[in-house]
Symmetry: C2
């Protein structure tokens, strides 16, 4: 009988590995370094050695392992093949074909890291109990993942859930990292919030706690927002209006049960969710105004959980 | 052996019925009037009588019928229940539960009309050969349907594919039919194009063929556009910029293989697709710039085809 599954979220510096019971219970988690030398040729063998070591240590026969889910920081095709993954140095690697022989034929599936994180949050995180969600990751950039009927939507070009790159301001002068101008990411990422803050600070304004902050950060903006600072209020309202409106558009596409908000910026917690939800409701199509909002709850482990879910579904 | 399936697209005035081979070949199509009297209580019995009559006429035993797919002009739950359908007068009707007993237990499935039309275009129309698409219906309003992995995305509130109601202009003063302001539908429907045209005509402009048109219509705008009329060019470019940008946002959500453009406005044909595609490419995320554009090809039969596909998949 199958009792276990592994989730392996491969990042540019470390691989987060989790041993899960098929019920979704995390048994143990650990990390191995990601060796990106020589086009990353050691990454999958290193993962295999670590998994086999753990199975031996715990006396788990391969018959008890349902499979291994792998998360990759880049686009992944449905069959688990990766054309290019800059962060790992990979070119033209089919993950299941490489890893399964090293694991005595235990089945392997692979997915994009942002998408598996969304799946993880659906399974055991902020979206638990929901079958369809949109995950919004507010970090250095804005990422996302779309889940419909408990399945990842990877998209034809691997761009499913690339919600940071919808154009929300066609009049923007400054370019986004993606080369276009006016992307959601330019206003709603941690970097974007800092930029909005600097613009407001450069204008004439009343006294603000932010005037005394040495290095403006998204955290500083939300911290002072929670202290009812008027200027921080303006910054956060602008951020929330842009994000809330964007989410209202997404609701007219896949109409999810819940928006799960994660990434570093989401550490601001409930006040952030509340203000985004306020602008979402204002802009949302009438039948979608009650769509739920939730904070992501698995943090950096979301990908590892989602990887396990890939093969335990 | 199952050889046949029925597709029944129930509209406010007529029901379009198709007898299909399981291969997707249409054998025969016909219509029956939709009797909306007495809260539409006769609609499903009338459909059943027509289907049974056709089976008798052609000597088709029920064992040869895979099922019956029904399209409804309103939101439909996954189990085929309809809370309210204004156009049919229905309240709290479960379509399979009502229709299956009348059809000697032949399985019945139901879906929203816009969504089944998208499914029909995927199966035998402009999106044939594709597994994921976004259908955009440019009629009196702007409707849509989202198909992922050959499945309709109905959405949590039945709002999946309600793409006409994303807000594209938060500064709009005039209200949309939905009550909000600045919806895509206000600019890109047939009505919206007429409105854009009137705005351009009211401004100072050079000589235009549109000056001689008695009743401005979307058709008149596209007809004069094809004759290289400068003013029509401005109207069409504005329409296409708004629609192309909206589609580029949708590509960052579900990243479809193809956008299928249908509805009355799409009779303008290839020149319409080309100009929308031009603005789409300008706004699209880099990995999605080559997403295909196709004209819907099934016209008013798309829903009937999609209904059949519902039960022949």
């Amino acid at each position: 009988m199958k009792k276990y599954g592994f989730g392996v979220d491969i990042g540019g510096t470390t691989c987060k590995i989790g041993l899960f019971e098929t019920t979704g219970q995390l048994v143990e988690k650990w990390e191995v370094p990601t060796d990106t030398q020589e086009a990353g040729k050691n990454i999958l063998p290193d993962v295999a050695a670590s998994l086999k070591g753990k199975m031996q240590e715990r006396g788990i026969p391969k018959e008890e392992v349902e499979g291994i889910g792998i998360g990759i920081p880049g686009p992944v095709q449905a069959d688990g093949s990766v054309a290019v993954c800059v962060n790992l140095g990979w070119k033209n690697i089919n993950v299941p074909k490489e890893l399964e022989p090293l694991m005595d034929g235990i089945p392997v599936k692979a997915g994009n890291d942002a998408n598996v994180a969304a799946l993880g949050e659906m399974w055991q995180g902020g979206g638990k109990g929901c079958k369809s969600l949109i995950m919004v990751t507010l970090g250095t950039g804005v990422g996302g993942g779309i889940i419909i009927d408990e399945q990842i939507v990877p998209g034809t070009h691997g761009a499913g859930g690339e919600i940071g790159h919808i154009v929300v301001n066609p009049h923007e002068k400054i370019a986004c990292n993606c080369g276009r101008k006016g992307c959601l990411e330019q206003y709603c990422s941690a970097t974007g919030i800092v930029r909005l803050a600097k613009e407001f600070l450069a204008e004439e304004h009343g006294p603000s706690l932010l005037d005394d902050v040495q290095e403006i950060s998204a955290k500083a903006v939300f911290d002072t927002y929670k202290e009812n600072d008027a200027l921080a209020g303006k910054i956060v309202e602008k951020f929330a209006r842009i994000l809330g409106r964007a989410l209202s558009s997404f609701a007219c596409v896949t109409d999810p049960e819940v928006f799960v908000i994660g990434g570093g910026v989401s550490k601001a917690g409930t006040p952030l969710i509340d203000v985004v939800n306020k602008y979402y409701k204002e802009a949302a199509f009438s039948s979608c105004t009650d769509t739920k909002f939730a904070l992501a709850s698995l943090g950096n482990d979301a990908g590892m959980y989602g990887c396990a879910r890939l093969i335990l579904e």
